[in-house]
């Protein structure tokens, strides 16, 4: 296959920029090698097309990588507005602004038991031995696609959570990824490693300091669950509507471990999330929840895969999307069952609710099953707000708009019901209300 140079997409992330960037980093050699390999993959990926199966409905022609750059240091002074930060007492918190860590705390109680919660840039120097086997080796691989490669070369930091064997962190932890500077590129990496029998809850959100600063997030999330571990991970994407959000997010779940993963998609101009869950060990189980609310001209897209590699594994995905105005939501889902993954129980479902004539939801579920003794079901529904429901509500004294809002909140309730962390339910409910234009 021949690719002409002219088809190389323009980017300010060229070889010179990469070397310059490397010069600013203090990292072990293995990490630098990893970046170099990722950079090679990135250069190659620029001359190849993105996987049409994943990207054909997501138009990113207006995205110009050369317009964005990594801020030298955190220049933003404005505090980002958070949905979660003040809602609970967290046992630990990590905040990043424009790629720089601005805060990392963890209560002594957990630190003394060997729990690590901090910034990837620091921990790679102090705890490289712990991170090395996991960082971009098993979950998000740099050569997966253009965005994972780009991220692998240029990641700037991000939140790391490590929980040692049999330590159960029963208080929630918090992570904030903030963007402030104009035209900033954010390469935050979230890495969660749970050893055997460990458990933890991490609530993460992304947020903009200003309503109109452009930006791009090229992120990665890696969730690594050793046998019998238990993780609840939430990511609320709440950028302003000028930010491009590209994220490669992968969970690997070993035997008898349980991952509960909730994704909230509220912000961004365009968001594309590649989300994969691997059920790698017998008895592994994952529940994936998605709450998406797109308005104005937002486009929020998901490419989700539930891959069953071992017998007796379970995955259960429920996404609910509401679109309004000229917004669009795309969901392409897939359950894959390997030959040996007998007695798999796989479920995926996407429900879309359309609030206006000019918005759109595309939901395409899919199955690829090689085992012969499995139970896999999938489904997708999509519809407008039901006129008879509106009429019924109005007959009880609700205005049309109030009825619409009540119905939308009810539509999301089914997902909220699956989320055991109360503050997450509250936060999502509150965020949806705000987007609807009601409540404070």
């Amino acid at each position: 296959m021949s690719a002409t140079l002219s088809s190389v997409r323009p980017t300010s992330f060229d070889a010179a920029a990469f070397e310059q960037f490397l010069a600013t980093r203090t990292e072990p050699a293995w990490a630098t090698d990893l970046r170099r390999r990722a950079f090679e993959a990135y250069r190659e990926s620029l001359v190849t097309e993105l996987d049409p199966e994943e990207w054909k409905r997501v138009d990113i022609r207006a995205f110009r990588p050369e317009k964005f750059s990594i801020p030298a240091a955190s220049t933003s002074t404005g505090a980002v507005e958070t949905l979660l930060a003040d809602r609970a007492e967290f046992a630990g918190a990590v905040s990043h602004s424009d790629g720089t860590c601005t805060r990392a705390t963890l209560s002594d109680k957990w630190a003394q038991q060997g729990v690590l919660l901090g910034n990837l840039s620091d921990l790679i120097q102090t705890h490289g031995d712990i991170l090395k086997p996991h960082l971009m080796t098993r979950a998000v691989k740099p050569d997966a696609d253009r965005f994972s490669a780009w991220h692998g070369a240029f990641w700037t930091g991000g939140t790391v959570l490590y929980v040692p064997r049999n330590v159960e962190v029963n208080e929630p932890l918090y992570s904030l990824i903030g963007l402030g500077a104009e035209a900033a590129a954010d390469f935050s990496h979230t890495l969660i490693i749970l050893e055997e029998g460990a458990s933890a809850t991490l609530l993460e959100e992304t947020s903009s300091a200003s309503a109109d600063a452009t930006g791009v997030h090229v992120g990665a999330v890696e969730l690594l669950l050793a046998p019998r571990s238990n993780l609840r991970y939430v990511q609320l994407q709440n950028w302003n509507d000028k930010v491009w959000h590209f994220a490669h997010q992968v969970g690997r779940v070993e035997a008898d471990a349980y991952l509960q993963w909730t994704v909230g998609g509220l912000g961004a101009r365009l968001a594309h999330i590649h989300q994969e869950v691997f059920l790698d060990g017998r008895g592994a189980s994952a529940e994936v929840n998605g709450v998406t609310f797109a308005t104005d001209k937002q486009l929020i897209s998901y490419y989700t895969q539930q891959t069953h590699n071992a017998p007796n594994t379970r995955s259960d995905l429920l996404y609910k999307d509401v679109v309004r105005d000229k917004a669009r939501c795309i969901w392409r889902g897939m359950i894959k069952v390997a030959k040996d993954a007998q007695r798999t129980d796989g479920y995926q479902r996407n429900d879309g609710l359309i609030m206006s004539d000019t918005c759109r939801v595309d939901a395409i579920p899919g199955l690829e099953i090689e085992a012969d003794d499995v139970r896999c079901t999938h489904g997708a529904t999509c519809g407008r707000v039901d006129e008879e429901q509106l009429f019924y509500c109005m007959c009880r004294g609700l205005t049309r708009s109030e009825a619409m809002h009540v119905i939308v909140e009810g539509f999301f309730q089914r997902v909220y019901d699956r989320i055991p962390v109360e503050i997450v339910r509250e936060t999502l409910g509150h965020a949806v209300e705000r987007k609807l234009g009601i409540g404070g």
């Binding site: 039901d386 429901q389 009429f391 509500c393 004294g397 009810g410």
Partner: protein, 276 residues
């Protein structure tokens, strides 16, 4: 002074097909009216039109509450003026808890000028009242936490309609076959519930095929509707007669309407391709 719901020469079409052809009716607060008639005569059309269903187009005549024409008001505005429909087929609102829904509804009905986002009736006060009404209707308080009509049995849905009636205390309640599709125990519960709620503050229009509801709620007026017109009005004994003898005698007394009815049915059968 008691309020008056006045329907004058009401003509209503659905999809450009005339269904009601000049209905006049006056209901005062405190009165019980029964509306009876064979299937397809326009009973439910009248009910939906009164509360403002957008599919039912008023082509002539008026609906007034205390002299104010409500023809152009939407269902929410009519509800806030004191109109209530107990649905024949209550609608499920997925994910919306009964208590949350009713708290919104009660607040809006009691403060008709409320705008969305303004304060709701205090929770404690509301809960107490809801609990009392539910106990009176023999309902498990657990229902308040369930999603509105989701997974409810037929009887539970109808009871939920009566609960809403009890909470909203409308000036005029229209009950569209609230007793249909229920076993006799459920009919008794609903009938008793309605009787308890009736009083000088509520006028009701009871649409029914059965007599049980009317045994508990004896109408002062019984209206018979045939082919979109009220052809007879009597007292409770008329309801009794219709229940025992059907509509044959009514049709004989009103041959023009009976012929229209027959013609309409023949067309409807042809339209769906049903052979006879």
């Amino acid at each position: 002074m008691s309020s008056l719901l006045k329907i004058t020469d009401l003509h209503v079409s659905v999809d450009d097909k005339p269904i009601l052809k000049g209905v006049s009716l006056e209901i005062r607060q405190g009165e019980v009216h029964a509306l009876m008639g064979p299937n397809g005569s326009g009973k439910s059309t009248l009910a939906y039109t009164l509360v403002g269903h957008p599919k039912y187009e008023i082509t002539g005549g008026s609906i007034e509450i205390d002299g104010v024409n409500v023809n152009e008001l939407d269902p929410c505005e009519r509800a806030r003026k004191g109109l209530f429909l107990a649905f024949q087929y209550p609608v499920t609102i997925p994910g919306v808890k009964v208590a949350d829904f009713l708290r919104h509804a009660v607040t809006n009905i009691r403060t008709p000028n409320r705008k969305e986002g303004e304060g709701l009736i205090p929770m404690r006060e509301f809960r107490k009242e809801l609990k009392e009404r539910m106990e009176e209707l023999g309902m498990d308080i657990e229902f308040a936490r369930r999603y509105l009509n989701e997974g409810f049995s037929g009887g539970e849905k109808k009871r939920m309609e009566i609960l809403q009636l009890a909470m909203l205390q409308p000036k005029f309640a229209i009950l569209d076959e609230t007793d249909s599709g229920l076993d006799s125990d459920a009919v008794r519960v609903v009938s008793e519930g309605l009787r308890k709620l009736s009083g000088p503050q509520m006028g009701s229009l009871i649409i029914t095929h059965h007599e049980r509801l009317l045994e508990y709620n004896v109408p002062q007026f019984t209206h018979v509707i045939l082919a979109g017109r009220i052809v007879e009005t009597g007292d409770a004994s008329l309801a009794h007669e219709l229940h025992n003898h059907g509509y044959t005698a009514v049709r004989e007394r009103h041959p023009a309407e009976a012929a229209e009815e027959e013609e309409r049915q023949a067309k409807a059968k042809k339209a769906v391709g049903v052979g006879v």
